[in-house]
């Protein structure tokens, strides 16, 4: 029973943190933008602290690393953005790229 309440609290916390980020990061800054971001920070801290007390189901040893999922989530996204920035050097073309390859332009 205790677990269920804990899960419900954590799940709500996650959803609230997510919405706080969307409102906190918006441009131009919301009147209470900094407050939103501070609360969002609190959510981040709570999930990390909760992770310290959890008995993980371990299949691989690295899953036991302190805050593995937080570190992985953060670095995965940073990697994603940098990799995409690299791709941007040669993937993007003008919006009429294909139209100008054809008959009209020889």
């Amino acid at each position: 029973m205790n677990d269920e309440i804990l899960i419900a609290i954590l799940a709500l916390l996650g959803a609230i943190g997510y919405v706080l980020l969307l409102f906190g990061a918006k441009e131009p800054r919301h009147k209470y933008g900094n407050l939103f971001l501070a609360l969002y920070g609190v959510c981040l801290i709570i999930v990390v602290v909760a992770g310290l007390f959890v008995q993980w189901h371990i299949v691989f040893s690295w899953q036991d690393l302190t805050s593995f999922y937080a570190i992985y989530g953060f670095s995965a996204c940073v990697f994603l953005i940098y990799f995409a920035k690299g791709l941007r050097l040669w993937l993007p073309k003008e919006e009429d790229y294909y139209e100008t390859r054809g008959v009209k332009n020889k």
Partner: protein, 574 residues
């Protein structure tokens, strides 16, 4: 006992009757076929139609028995979600004026249902092609030059895929003598080629990279409502046939993993939010194919339940962005922003969809996707697969969870004048959003209708904490990068994808036709005309020459008819 009616037929007859109704009466009428079809499927669940498959729906064809109504847990699950979501889609699309568009949408749903309940390969193929044509019509109703071009490329992909599938089916029937559509075995060498061809035909519809480029190319070009329809039926029907035919096929597992990772980079770069969602659609189907490839009962359950959930949340996201298109006429990041004040309800629905696709606890994605990821852990190469699937989860959260709502509703306010869409569209989105949360909080009804018994508990503390750490810190990375200016700014550009060589070669080919070949033809024509003028005396008056032409034409027609009859005669009697 009541006689069973094929739910697909309800849609097809429903489509034919659309032009009969006008005005508000039409709006009332449009709701009827999907509701009847849903009732039909629910009655099928309750076993009201007796033995399976209903024998009324078998047809003799070339010495085989075609089965139109196969009812088992797998087909019924897809039938249920297709008919359920079609009610929501029709509600959302009530404001569509064009009868043609409404009809093609109904044909599309009807043929998808036909493919789902097909019990043999020939019936499957017939509906498979029907679906390709109906979906082409949905794309073409976009009505722009871009939609026309994308539609042509789309149908070329699908005709190619359909022909490969047909070749596979013909060879398969040739080798086995049976048209039954069940799990394929790779056992004997004589079956290897047909099975491979069928597999390729299937994965083209599932949009597996590098055969996926038709999807982000064509789907965003349809109308605001058409895109929502497209996002659901073609790919999920492919998931269904793969689940039936290729569960436990090892390579599919890794194709699925690649499919989850590949599109996330494109989704970061893409400026058009409907293209971003198209890439997220490929990513989500990747999770399903991975589960099907793993093939354990947990994984297949995960895959089909994820298909069920994804139809709802991906549909919801496309509906929300469709509403933005409906009101503002664009889905480009560079033109949007700050809409949360003017379209608050759409914004809330979009966030629910975004939270569901990102698999936040208490939203649908969480209770279905985690089955697949858990199943991946037990496989050989499970560590690599697990890490890549987590990367893809963080990636999908980044683009569908943060980028889509952020750039549409929160980023720099561009002072766009908009308001929430009409009531029926809000209702369509609202009901879908409620279902997303309902299934997320209380997944047991969904678990009960899965093909295999479920003993999976999605909600335990470590699971929830792990997921929240992953998601919230991925969002933290987004925040850090966007405030520090490292995040790549949106550009008015398109991004080259795997169809680049085809499209450039196609353009070169067209140039070849228009320039060198046309010039050659003109030259030949000229030469022939000068030759003919030497004999100009023959044939006399102009009318006389036309008469000669007509009589030669008629003679040729008779000859062709004779040859055809001759062939038909030999074919039938020998």
């Amino acid at each position: 006992m009541i006689e069973w009616v094929h739910p697909g037929l309800i849609f097809i007859i429903g489509a034919l009757l659309v032009p009969v109704f006008r005005g508000n009466l039409k709006k009332v009428y449009l709701i009827i076929p999907p509701v009847l079809a849903l009732i039909d499927v629910v009655l099928m669940y309750m076993g009201s139609f007796g033995s399976i498959p209903a024998s009324r729906w078998q047809l003799p064809f070339l010495g085989y028995e075609l089965i139109f109504g196969r009812m088992d847990k797998l087909s019924l699950l897809f039938g249920l979600i297709y008919t359920l979501v079609s009610i929501l889609l029709v509600l959302y699309a009530l404001n569509v004026k064009s009868n043609g568009e409404l009809m093609s949408q109904f044909f599309y749903v009807g043929s998808a249902l036909g493919a789902i309940f097909a019990g043999d390969l020939i019936t499957l193929y017939i509906f498979w092609e029907f679906m390709a044509i109906a979906s082409l019509l949905v794309i073409l109703h976009g009505g722009t030059d871009k939609a026309l071009g994308a539609g042509f490329r789309y149908i070329m992909w699908h005709v190619a895929g359909g022909l490969i599938l047909l070749a596979g089916i013909v060879l398969y029937i040739e080798s086995t003598g049976s048209i039954a559509f069940n799990a394929f075995s790779w056992g004997t060498t004589s079956l290897y080629l047909p099975t491979l061809l069928i597999f390729i035909g299937f994965i083209i519809n599932a949009a597996v990279p590098p055969l996926h480029a038709w999807l982000p190319d064509s789907y965003p070009e349809s109308t605001y409502a058409g895109t929502v329809y497209l996002s659901i039926f073609t790919t999920k029907t492919a998931v269904y046939v793969l689940a039936r035919g290729f569960a436990g096929f090892g390579p599919l597992m890794w194709l699925g993993v690649i499919m989850t990772v590949y599109p996330i980079f494109y989704a970061v770069l893409e400026n058009d939010l409907r293209k971003v969602l198209s890439y997220s659609l490929i990513n989500q189907v990747g999770f399903m194919l991975c589960g099907i490839g793993i093939g354990t009962t947990l994984a297949v359950n995960g895959a089909v339940s994820h298909a069920f959930a994804q139809i709802l949340f991906e549909g919801l996201l496309f509906m929300a962005i469709g509403s933005v298109v409906y009101r503002t006429g664009t889905a480009k990041c560079t033109d949007l922003g700050g809409l949360y004040k003017s379209m608050p309800l759409t914004c809330i629905f979009c966030i629910v969809g975004a939270a569901s696709i990102s698999a936040f606890p208490f939203f649908t994605g969480f209770v279905t996707k985690s089955m697949i990821i858990d199943a991946a852990l037990g496989q050989t190469g499970g560590a690599l697969m697990y890490v890549l699937l987590l990367l893809a989860s963080a990636g999908v959260f980044h683009h569908a969870g943060v980028k889509v709502p952020f750039f549409a509703f929160f980023a720099e306010d561009r002072g766009i004048n908009a308001r929430d869409p009409p009531l029926n569209m809000l209702l369509g989105m609202g009901i879908t959003a409620s279902l997303c949360i309902l299934i997320g909080v209380y997944p047991h009804p969904l678990y009960q209708i899965l093909p295999y018994p479920v003993d999976f508990v999605p909600y335990n503390v470590p699971h929830v904490v792990a997921q929240l750490q992953l998601l919230l810190f991925a969002s933290f990375a987004f925040f850090v990068l966007i405030t520090s200016g490292i995040y790549p700014p949106e550009q008015r550009k398109i991004n080259l994808d795997t169809d680049w060589p085809l499209r450039v070669m196609g353009a070169k080919f067209m140039w070849f036709l228009h320039e060198p070949l046309t010039n050659l033809a003109k030259g030949l024509d000229h030469a022939l005309k000068s030759l003919a003028s030497l004999f100009a005396g023959y044939g006399g008056e102009k009318e006389e020459r036309i008469l000669i032409g007509v009589s030669v034409g008629i003679a040729l027609l008779f000859l062709a008819f004779y040859l055809f009859m001759q062939m038909a005669y030999t074919w039938i009697f020998h």
